[in-house]
Amino acid sequence: MTEKKMIPPNTLLAFGVVGGLLGVYLAYFLAPMNPIFVFFGALGAVCASVWGADVVRRVASYGLGTGVPSIGMLALGMGIIAVLFGLSLGLGPAGPLVAFITSCVIGAIIGIISKKVVGMTIPIMVSATTEIAGAGALLILGLSIVIAGSLDFGVVVTEVITTGFIMMIYIAGGMAMLHPHNSNLGPDETQDRLLALSAEKAGIAVVLSGFASVAGMGAMAVTMLIGLFIWYTFWGKYYGFVKRDAYKVIDVGMLPTEEEMQ
């Protein structure tokens, strides 16, 4: 890591939780007035994805021994089960919060089991699985409300689950959390580059969710434009960071010579 100041984990946790819940609830309450407002859910999903990507970065640096994709699949798996449970209770506005908390609890349980029964020695294991399960749940909630237009259980089932779009949320959202660490793997990994990439990939997930939305042409167009804007901005940032961090970015060239390698 460079000497650059890194964003502390608690700041990102606050960003993810507050941003995610705020986005989901703004979309939840404003969407019945005008479906266009589902885009807040998309913004919440981006916040959750950035939070999750940093958790993956921190936990993978300890050496999971099994590969980074596994923890992402774990997180989203827990997220899906918890979200469906939370929404199925029919608690109205409390549903998303219950889903988020359930996901965190399940994450904590799996983390404790991994530590106590399986014997994993990563110090931050329990907090990591809790955080990443929570991030996964917020991601799913945010993108589901974009697609379905509301978080009513029946609507979510018919518009998100039966169509199969939940798997798109699962994998595109999961990848927004996993891919940054995997694609910046190396001793000179920097946090800001990684987080910029996570936001960019989340932007792609937002564009796809907007495309699949049934909340009307207005919501579809607005969300896709916001997604494209997020994607473009953070791609620019990412490329800037790459040029800053790389040894050399050249157009065409031979391998470095012996003298250059010293």
Binding site: G67, S70, L74, M78, V117, V118, G164
Partner: protein, 246 residues
């Protein structure tokens, strides 16, 4: 507001079935010979993929088979048998082609470096391990171990799928029910194949590998983890019937 305790009480047997399914999945992962990145370079015995993803590939083939069969035939043994066989066929087809590539493309024979004699064919192993490697290819014991792993994993996944389908009063041909149950089963399967991978930590050659003795830890872990997951899944699926329009 739905009666959670009542739902759990009336579906206790299905929750138990889901938990058993999760435990079986966890145990099955230990049977599948995984060599990881070294195996892809003919440096270690086993299939050249990561633990989670190979188990997921096999289990998913099983879930697809279970879904196809359950839509037309609701006998529990036929359904979970189809899932088991689906997973085993996927692994078998993968392994035979991998063996072709090892034998004809790389020029090595299947051999294990963990045992001196193959427990099933009694062939001598150590003389046939190339210099600087930990074995390569898929010897017969690894193939048999993988088949058992595929059967168990498919069995577990099929059992979880069947149990969850039976929880709801909706007919099995209801597409909403199938979609919700299959989504749950996949999430459930991924969680129960990541937990044993944390136990295995890298590569394993099958039931003849010393690492195999660690399986009880993962089985207990999955058993405990599957209980809350099973309860959440059952509550969510059972409340589908009471939602209008599904």
């Amino acid at each position: 507001m739905i009666d959670i305790v009542g739902l759990i009480a009336s579906n206790l047997i299905w929750i138990l079935a889901i938990v058993i399914g999760g435990t079986l999945i966890s145990i099955s992962v230990h049977f599948i010979p995984v060599g990881g990145a070294p195996a892809a370079m003919a440096q270690a015995t086993g299939i050249g993929t990561g633990t989670v993803m190979l188990a997921a590939g096999a289990g998913i083939a099983g879930i697809i088979a279970a879904g196809a069969v359950m839509a037309v035939n609701q006998n529990i043994w036929v359904v979970i048998g189809a899932a088991a066989v689906g997973a085993a066929v996927m692994l078998a087809a993968t392994m035979i082609v991998a063996t072709w590539i090892y034998a004809y493309g790389v020029g090595v024979m299947p051999v294990s470096a963990k045992v001196k004699y193959d427990p099933i064919t009694k062939y001598r192993q150590d003389l046939y391990v190339s210099q600087g490697t930990e074995g390569h290819g898929i010897p017969t014991v690894a193939y048999v171990s993988a088949s058992i792993g595929g059967l168990l994993g498919g069995l577990g996944a099929g059992l979880a799928y069947y149990a969850l389908m039976k929880v709801s009063t909706l007919p099995v041909t209801n597409l909403n029910l199938v979609a919700v149950v299959s989504t749950f089963t996949i999430g459930f399967f991924f969680i129960n194949s990541v937990i044993p991978s944390y136990n295995i930590v890298g590569t394993i050659e099958g039931f003849h590998d010393p690492k195999f003795k660690k399986w009880p830890k993962a089985a207990i872990a999955s058993f405990l983890a599957s209980i809350p997951l099973g309860i959440l899944a059952v509550v969510a699926v059972a409340s589908l019937a009471s939602v209008g329009g599904l």
